[in-house]
């Protein structure tokens, strides 16, 4: 009996010690090295609308950090607010044969053919935030329809019959052919169908410019003294809209959208905006990085995977705002 007990104890000890030995050496992750190998040395070209405003600066900072960590390169080719310069940059990039092109479209048409050409020549194309009518491998960005729908519903809530207000609203769009404008406008029209209590008294383009938005808002407010709300299409531009509302001293509900840069939170804080729908550039940056990594690892040829990652929206009002509602470019770059 005694012998058996000792034998069992010895056996247990032996098993435990072998187990420990295995645990001390660990297990090799068979996936890790191939994954890292498939990323290192790859080349990504980024063609933003312009490297001079919060969104592309934010995306670039996040993409560059990840590229540095994993050993691929991000080349930035600035289109500097010109579709011509952008098309030239894309054409140039196609001849250099990078693995991926990340592009932010000015409008739904300008780059469509060039993007198709890039895919045909074997380069995978990711579109960020502003879609072209041509669907490439991936789209990462704001859900413009969802944003428009939310904004319109807020207007129904704030200005519709139930609120006892006039129901008059105005829209300040971006350029008429930009993805942000066309999809949002479509959503607003669809949502307001059957809501006769809401009347759009003005729908003009502010062309992404504060001064223009300021002038339009001023005229519209002056012309419609009982205006109840304004839907703006970009917070940076709507700083002008908000200024016009503040000058008029009227209580007009301004809802706008943007990347969630700290100026958006400041605007909500100081009353320039009542509400900002943020498409969260930090989140988009992470989505972009993941998309780039998926496409670099995928063996599928360019143009075969077609997928979209729509950013979940954050809604920033005075009540919902917290310390991490917005981001700071200087912090992102660190």
């Amino acid at each position: 009996m005694m012998i058996l007990k000792y034998a069992a104890a010895a056996l247990t000890a032996a098993i435990i010690s072998t187990g420990c030995a295995t645990a001390q050496e660990g297990m090799a992750d068979a996936l890790r090295q191939p994954t890292l190998d498939s990323l290192a040395g790859k080349k990504v070209v980024f063609v933003p609308m312009s490297m001079s405003f919060d969104l592309p600066e934010g995306w670039a900072a996040i993409m560059e950090k990840e590229a540095k960590r994993l050993g691929y390169t991000i080349d930035i080719r600035d289109a500097n607010w010109s579709t011509d310069t952008g098309t030239r940059a894309l054409t140039q990039a196609i001849t250099e044969k990078p693995d991926i092109i990340v592009v932010q479209n000015f409008d739904v048409a300008s780059y469509a053919r060039t993007l198709k050409k890039a895919e045909d020549s074997g380069i995978k194309v990711v579109q960020v935030n502003m879609k072209s009518s041509y669907q490439t491998d991936a789209f990462v960005g704001a859900d413009w329809y969802g944003i428009g729908q939310y904004a319109a519903n807020r207007m129904i809530e704030k200005c519709g019959k139930a609120s006892g207000k006039s129901g008059k609203i105005a829209i300040i769009q971006g350029p008429a052919t930009a993805a942000a404008s066309v999809y949002q406008l479509n959503a607003i029209t669809e949502t307001l169908k059957g809501h006769d209590d809401i009347k759009i008294v003005s729908s003009q383009t502010g062309d992404w410019d504060q001064s223009k938005a300021h002038g339009i808002a001023q005229t519209v407010i002056q012309q419609n003294p009982d205006l109840c709300g304004i839907i703006g299409f970009w917070d940076v531009m709507d700083a002008g809209t908000g200024a016009a509302i503040q000058e008029s001293g009227k209580d007009i509900y301004l809802i706008t959208s943007g990347g969630g840069n700290k100026t958006a939170c400041q605007g909500v804080q100081n009353g320039t905006f009542n509400e900002v729908i943020s498409y969260d550039v930090e989140g988009q940056g992470r989505d972009l990085n993941n998309t780039i990594k998926v496409l670099l690892q995928s063996k599928e040829p360019a143009g075969s995977l077609k997928f979209a990652l729509y950013t979940p929206n954050k809604f920033i009002t005075k009540d919902t705002m917290s310390a991490n509602s917005c981001w700071d470019l200087d912090q992102l770059k660190k």
């Binding site: 312009s50 001079s52 005229t219 002056q222 700083a239």
Partner: protein, 332 residues
């Protein structure tokens, strides 16, 4: 028609381009007043002028240079970048008044360099100012600030008052525009330097022979236009609490040229004055305001604006055919 007959007709009717534009403006005004509810309200009229005050101030600067037979294509770049410099400095902790003074110094320094290139190195104004414009914008985007839109620091109520406040019921930008107009009127009409500017614009060789210090006065013209650009920038920045350098890429500089030419200041130099600018600015203001009230789309607005401008130019070409002098000197 012989040239003398043309001159006679012109004298009899007295239809200058300025007058034509004025008539077009009055017609538009009457149409809008009848057709649009609320157009004629005093608030709307003030709004209308306020929204073009910045354009008007830039055009005043351009007018001085054009009267001296030059052109300044750097106005918008100088306006955007000098104010951006002020804002960036203020955000770094400088007192805003100091920052503004440094911004103005920058604008004047640019003007002196540009004036020197034109007056002494004798580079044609159109190329010199275009090149300087690109350099200034490059400095702005590459060195001074990394973003195009820079917000002024919080709590600068005195500065925001320049853009948003009102005195005696009239918005401050209109006061600024009015003061600048009056100052330039006095400069051009009542001072020797102003008269010399006309002399230089009319015939530079004669001006030189007469003993006018042509080159320093040319530099002075660009200093005046850059200063106007800076002031226009102040009015803009104060009303939206920020400055947007993207403006340099817009068509604003062409709008400025249109106000100047449309108002009747010929590119041949030596003619016109502040009144022409007022008329041109009001026409553009009327068009923009009326079309915004009518909720006309941006593209169609541009189409209509250009059509009205072309219409005014065509009438002018009919009523005031090119004369001996313009055919000799040519337009710009």
């Amino acid at each position: 028609m012989t040239p003398s007959a043309t001159t006679k007709t012109r004298h009899r009717i007295g239809l200058t381009q300025e007058l034509i534009v004025f008539v077009v403006a009055v017609l538009l005004f009457v149409c809008f007043s009848v057709a649009l509810n609320g157009f004629l309200s005093p608030e709307n009229i003030l709004n209308l002028i306020r929204n073009v005050a910045m354009l008007g101030m830039l055009s005043l600067g351009m007018a001085v240079v054009v009267i001296g037979r030059g052109v300044d294509l750097s106005l918008v770049a100088v306006m955007a970048v000098s104010l951006t410099l002020s804002i960036v400095l203020a955000n770094q902790g400088y007192a805003f008044s100091t920052a503004l003074a440094l911004g103005l110094t920058f604008a004047i320094a640019v003007a002196v360099v540009m004036g020197f290139l034109i007056a002494y190195v004798e580079i044609p104004a159109i190329f010199a100012t275009l090149a300087v414009s690109a350099i200034v914008y490059g400095l702005g985007r590459g060195v001074i600030a990394s973003l195009d839109v820079n917000n002024i620091p919080d709590n600068l109520h005195w500065f925001l008052f320049l853009g948003r406040g009102a005195l005696l019921g009239i918005p401050m930008p209109i006061w600024l525009f009015a003061i600048c107009s009056a100052a330039l009127y006095l400069f051009l009409r009542k001072t020797g330097l102003g008269r010399f500017t006309y002399g230089i614009g009319d015939n530079i060789s004669t001006a030189r022979i007469t003993g006018i210090p042509v080159r320093p006065i040319i530099i002075l013209q660009y200093v005046i236009s850059s200063t106007m650009a800076f002031l226009a920038g102040c009015a803009t920045a104060a009303s939206v609490a920020s400055m947007n350098m993207r403006m340099v890429n817009s068509t604003l500089i062409y709008d400025v040229l249109l106000v100047v030419i449309l108002g009747g200041i010929g590119l041949t130099g030596g003619r016109g004055g502040v009144r022409n600018i007022l008329v041109g600015t009001v026409l553009i203001g009327l068009l923009l305001n009326g079309m915004t009230i009518l909720n006309i789309s941006y593209t169609v607005q541009n189409l209509l604006k250009s059509t009205v401008l072309l219409f005014a130019l065509v009438i002018d070409a009919f009523l005031n055919p090119r004369d001996e002098q313009t055919s000799q000197q040519g337009d710009i």
